[in-house]
Symmetry: D2
Subunit: 490 residues, 4 copies
């Protein structure tokens, strides 16, 4: 059953009975919780589109392990074409869900661990790569959604993992047994963790020897003993609990979700351990996962497409679509969105083969891509708010539209361009609100800033990958600089 | 009782029993409604600070009508010093409430109508100015909060008021009687309208003769027959209805509020009518009100002060305050905030006397000021989100912190810099969320865009006030351009 | 002799004896003129590098006409790989010359005319494509540099070609003879025209039937009867005439150049005519040439590499290289430069096959690419000036450094970091001056703005290619907008 | 003769016979040197306008020493009104000269030294203030232009003055005699130094005790024994030496100028020494001079006025003035220019009295002002280049326009809007070139970056003046943060 449907995915998730807290309470079933369900619907879309012949080419791939058709989210990229199809899939899903669809972290973790374990094994003669291939095979066969988990809570930013007062502030090995390891700690900001069948853990940064117990990678099912999650609340999340709510959600079907995932003395059998104290490789694993995941922010161009379309529709409903400044702002939104897209494409097409055979994106360009993502969605959202007009934040509620006494007044005074339907107008305005201030803004804005690493992390990588010395040498040649006259050490 | 306290204000408002709908339902008492109360607290602060000796100089003024001490919000500015104190009062209140405090619209309407009625009377021999002085006297004596109301729903932006299918899409005179006029229509985006004792209506744009029935200015008490309001819902507004909520509000005390104010065949006695068909003056009234109100966006620098402080605190709690990029981003936030402040100061200090004796701000600089306000708070908020970290949008709820099972985990894993209190850290992060995505974002961002006129409105004024011809002439002199050789008409 | 050397190129150009005016005087030999020679050296580099095994892959290609190795500048792109190699060649040449190397216009014209003539012939049964292939064969065999010329002087921007008072303001057909056509007019802003063996003319915009005589494409040798050029002067051009000048040039070897090319009753034989009144295809030809040429601005990333290197060197010489703000600004310069590069790559990799078999870049992304080029080099140059310090514009001259009385003072007071050579420091500062204010600024800045079309031209194309309707439809689906309720026509 | 005319100024300067080198050669008379003369004309304008009744109010002031009318450039500001008139004078002169008029440094030095010497004397019982008042009296009586000189060459940025290998890299006291001091060193980037009657020296940074010999302030006449200058070359400076040049200069009358001023064992009598080893006050003097001088960048708004006018004229001549994107870019240029102006006004109006009675600008706002000046002129210049079109850098020379053979072609093909004169069009384009790339770009761009301190210097001051702790406290109050729970030291 390599390709599940969305419905099958939801049932399979329900069956796992993950342990999840919301607002201090343990909940029964995430799949039926109104706050969580939209995020589960977004993931379900990654399954359903794989069955749509129109999208088969981008949504599915051929497993290099089995030769069978699999969901591309479970695939190891084996060409730059694969890397490009990955981002085309992500833009498509952004367009279809107008939200974070959460399944990328698993795909990016698969690919990063795949090539890194190969190189660990080569150096140490370990067998992580073979173990991981078996695990991957299961993921492909079961069409799992996997929470690729990297970011630890980190505690005091001025201290290394082993210097923290509380060792649990970074996930770490508590005990190495014959048959496996025991780990404790937590992963924060875990996108889509509540929706996942599995958690696939990676270390959060480059490590030194003192931190070797923190250099650990492993996988556990979401219902493993000692694993539980606490939902991270989002702007406007409880709007989803309101009675008869539809229009006011902006997007009544899809959403994103994040959680704190806690590992409380969790046992992991050896076949699910993919790094264990090989601290010299934690930097490589982080750099590759971060690189793949910075490429993944291509998804925001899909969400941007929806927001641009919504802003243009808002102008249509207002009767202002023909004003030259409106048209110019829409062009600017498109220009920024396509600039991000170009960066995603470039880092994919310029990908290269790793020793394992898997393809890695161009790291410099992937970081450049993500750096733009920390800026442009904010400007696109600002322009969308310009086009929407103040009514986006002063509009009466859906309940007022339906209200016996208020309804007629809302319809009368929210009329826009002659002949346009008021409810339609409200719908598009609420969609823009959702993306600029509401639940989807969490994904479109703040997570564009911090997901896959905060802006400064990308700047460090740009400095490291930018080859400044070569550029200096070019300048020296043009200017005929004779360095032999400079008797200082650089 | 020229200076009410905040408490007296709230009681006086409760006594008026305005007719207000929220979520399709008529409510009993706005002052005790959890969604509205924070916005009422913000207005109350404008009363309480007037009693604080530390702030007396900026918060109060001497009435030019009576020589008595009045709240500055009821004052007609009679010097550039007055104009500067106005904005210092606004920055102070932004700092104290971290929200829109809503009382500016009345003050700006007082000042715009005061000088415009003087000029109407001079031309037509009418007596609007005297009428308005009497009305103003009442406002000063009763220390009213007044909804200065300009923006009509406008319907189809491509059509003038009289071309709309529904005449009510702009407030207009339905009937002129011996003793007064009957009006219908609505005013949209009415900041603080639910909190106001009075509504003071102005036309929404320059008018031509065909639209003369739309050139109308008048005042009605908020509980006048035929007047009612529908609350405009805000991001995260229902979070205020959650049980035992405090931390999750970010700002548990203060807020802003907007509403649609509807006038359904409302009778206005002559002594409360300040413009009636003098359409040639609607442009002047709009330009002046807009000018004063664009100056008023000085308040956002006060809110910006809180946000900058909060972002710096978040870095402190994270243990990242010493990183050079963090310090640099805080400097940038301050630089942008002070640039807006400089513009507010400049348009105030460069104010000039109108024929009525009241002082008007410099219109060019007030528009430049507001244009920057449509940009910089967005960038400040983006930088604040950078400094806050992703935890701002992935953090468990307050209920999780209090939860019997979840509390210890939240405390454990949200630990930041050693020794810092987790609840404090959560509080500052929720404050930033409140300002960037929550209820206060409505005021700090979207209304910074559209309040007092959308960006394009300011650009039109900058073009009109910028004296491009004089600049061309300067260039001609420097370049020795001999226009006599150019035989075209321009 | 398919691959000339730089030296052979210069000799071949000298032999042609083009008719060139500088400062009102006819000059003898452009190749020995100090103002022109640097621009000829830049073109020569396009020949020399083709002989360097290290660069053979990007600098040469296999002719699809003959199967022989040719300079890539004469190649018709037959794959996306070709399109990518094109821009890698351009970045390389930017790095090697730190200037405009001018040969791209011919290559872009070849490719645009190649595919467009194919489509003209298909519609009209004409034989332009075969003619053009023969012409191209000569270009490849002779390894020509060709001035691909599009932009007419245009006169009054408010008038179409046929509405101009002077018909010559756009190149046009004056007479159609049995054996050829007679043309008059001029092409403005002709990059590298003085350096070219040939001029290859294209119409400047989409035309309507009234303008059909302006829909003309043809080639003439640079020394054809009736063809002559007037050099366009550049910032600091006469600095090249100064005695013993070297350091003060910043770049003493390479440069760019532009000229006005005039056609005064020039006869063109039929075999060199590639479009003659087929006005419906002028739009396609313009769009394709502009598209290829907007891709070509990849060259600026090569120049940017030199400028970034120079700015970093300047900080080294100042002893300020370790300051965190300096490092951060270098990162920003790299980020912007690589964002442009990513756009160039993306539009190349996303290229598609035309009916003729030649590959066309992705038009949307090529326009996005160029739009960024109208912005980012300015910001990179601004940051370079920040890093260079004020000394870049207040530094004494090279003559002062050499001067008997002044030399010791210049050496004493221009000392930077201990041990660094003052002459070296001056060299790098003059290189930055050259790129930010001097002759190279013409190419790096102003031509980044206007070359291949001014910013607004790209915005029009972004609007046209951006598929806004599809984006609106995405928004409608998410927001559940039922357009059947909107009874207006759009 | 308190108010000289421009002509008298030039004669007085000629009489001084300053020792000046250009291109390695000692020159006879700066006032007749074609490269220097435009900068002298700019200073002359500061004299001539003082005689124009229209500008008397801003150009002159009443000496607080004598009660006589003096040129405002020699005035000590004694009110915020004075501070505002200062910047209005500067904007005016920017408009009249379209260049740096160079006399501000003296005025700013007067004011900084005036108040600082007062405070030094108060602490040490010295008599610098009285000495300085006598010196100032002479300056006012003789209506001197004075080179207020602060910036030392600085050598290795990583070393303090006393750590430099060569002690002369900072101006310092070599010997203290009974009757005066002997100093050596140099001041770099000295705007208008060649045009000045006097040099008024200040230390370049805050000093510690080890650097006390570098804490020195004094004045010398420009022709003092041991003082000489080396001209700093500018973009396009030698264009001024071309035969019959006029149009190609863009601005054929006015310009700026900078030089390296060298002090080679110069004796300064005691009455001209204003600080001698009081190192604790060097920081105050620097901060105040920098503050006044950052305010002074108001001049760039005057130059900006000319550039905006020129860009608008260029659009007129092109026939493109009515395009909406053209109009919008002109609005943006005005908006940016007026934002800078607002900052200048604000820091002036918010000035405060020092202990000496002189008024100091608001330091925070003056630094905010200058920080914007390091950004906005670059964007205004970029937009001007957009509006000018590529023709700005590809246009034939003036000699071509005059040329017997070329003239008719230049006139024919540079025709723009019907009826517009081609020479006029060329003039305005050359003016834009002058400001964006030519001699005036040195002042309008690079010196906007570095003059009065480089951008980072302002950021440090913004951090220091921004009162971040107060902002944190505001945030704590709103968020109800209880710091007693934080048991860490900050």
């Amino acid at each position: 059953m390599a390709l599940m449907t969305g419905k099958q995915y939801i049932e399979s998730l329900k069956a796992l009975k993950p342990k999840v807290y919301i607002f201090g309470e343990l909940i029964d079933d995430p799949t039926s919780h109104p706050i969580l369900r939209p995020s589960i619907n977004s993931v379900a879309m990654t399954y359903d589109l794989a069955h749509d012949p129109e999208y088969e080419d981008v949504m599915t791939a051929t497993s290099h392990l089995t030769g069978e058709k699999i969901n591309r989210f479970c695939h190891i990229h084996h060409s730059t074409e694969d890397l490009v199809k990955k981002i085309k899939m992500q833009r498509l899903l952004g367009q279809k869900t107008s939200s974070c669809f959460q399944r990328c972290v698993g795909m990016d973790a698969f690919n990063a661990i795949y090539s890194t374990t190969y190189e660990i094994d080569k150096k140490y003669g370990t067998e992580y790569h073979e173990r991981f291939k078996k695990y991957l095979l299961m993921a492909q066969k079961n069409d799992w959604t996997v929470d690729g988990a990297m970011t630890d809570p980190k505690g005091d930013r001025g201290l290394s993992p082993s210097q923290q007062e509380d060792p649990d502030l970074f996930v770490h090995i508590e005990e190495i047994r014959q048959d496996g390891i025991v780990v404790s700690g937590a992963k924060a900001h875990q996108t889509g963790s509540i929706n996942s069948h599995e958690h696939l853990i990676m270390p959060t940064q480059a490590m030194k020897e003192a931190d070797k117990d923190y250099a650990v990678s492993f996988a556990v099912p979401t219902n493993a003993e000692g694993v539980f999650m606490i939902y991270g609340r989002q702007s406007c999340d409880t709007r989803k609990l309101e009675k008869d709510v539809d229009i006011d959600l902006g997007n009544n079907t899809f959403g994103g979700q994040e959680a704190l995932v806690i590992f409380d003395h969790v046992f992991v059998p050896n076949e699910r351990v993919f790094m264990c104290q090989e601290y010299e490789y934690s930097g490589m694993l982080v750099e590759r996962f971060a690189g793949y995941h910075r490429q993944s922010y291509a998804c925001k161009t899909g969400v941007g497409d929806v927001l641009i379309g919504a802003a243009a529709l808002a102008a249509d409903y207002n009767g202002a679509a023909k004003a030259s400044h409106i048209k110019d702002k829409i062009i600017e939104m498109q220009h920024l969105n396509e600039t991000m897209w170009a960066c995603s494409l470039a880092c994919s097409y310029e990908g290269t083969k790793t020793e394992s055979g898997a393809y890695l994106i161009n790291l410099l360009l992937a970081n450049v891509c993500k750096q733009n993502v920390t800026r442009f969605p904010y400007e696109i959202a600002r322009l969308a708010q310009d086009l929407a007009g103040g009514i986006m934040v002063t509009m009466p509620s859906e309940a007022d539209l339906r209200g016996a006494e208020t309804g007629k007044w809302v319809k009368k005074y929210l009329a826009g361009k002659v002949g346009m339907d008021v409810e339609n107008r409200m719908r598009v305005l609420r969609l823009i609100e959702n993306l600029c201030l509401g639940t989807a803004a969490v994904g479109y804005l703040t997570e564009s800033m911090h997901g896959a690493g905060s802006p400064q992390a990308q700047r460090i990588m740009i400095a490291r990958q930018g080859n400044l010395e070569a550029k200096k040498e070019m300048a020296r040649k043009i200017a005929h600089i004779d360095t032999s006259k400079d008797n200082v050490t650089k």
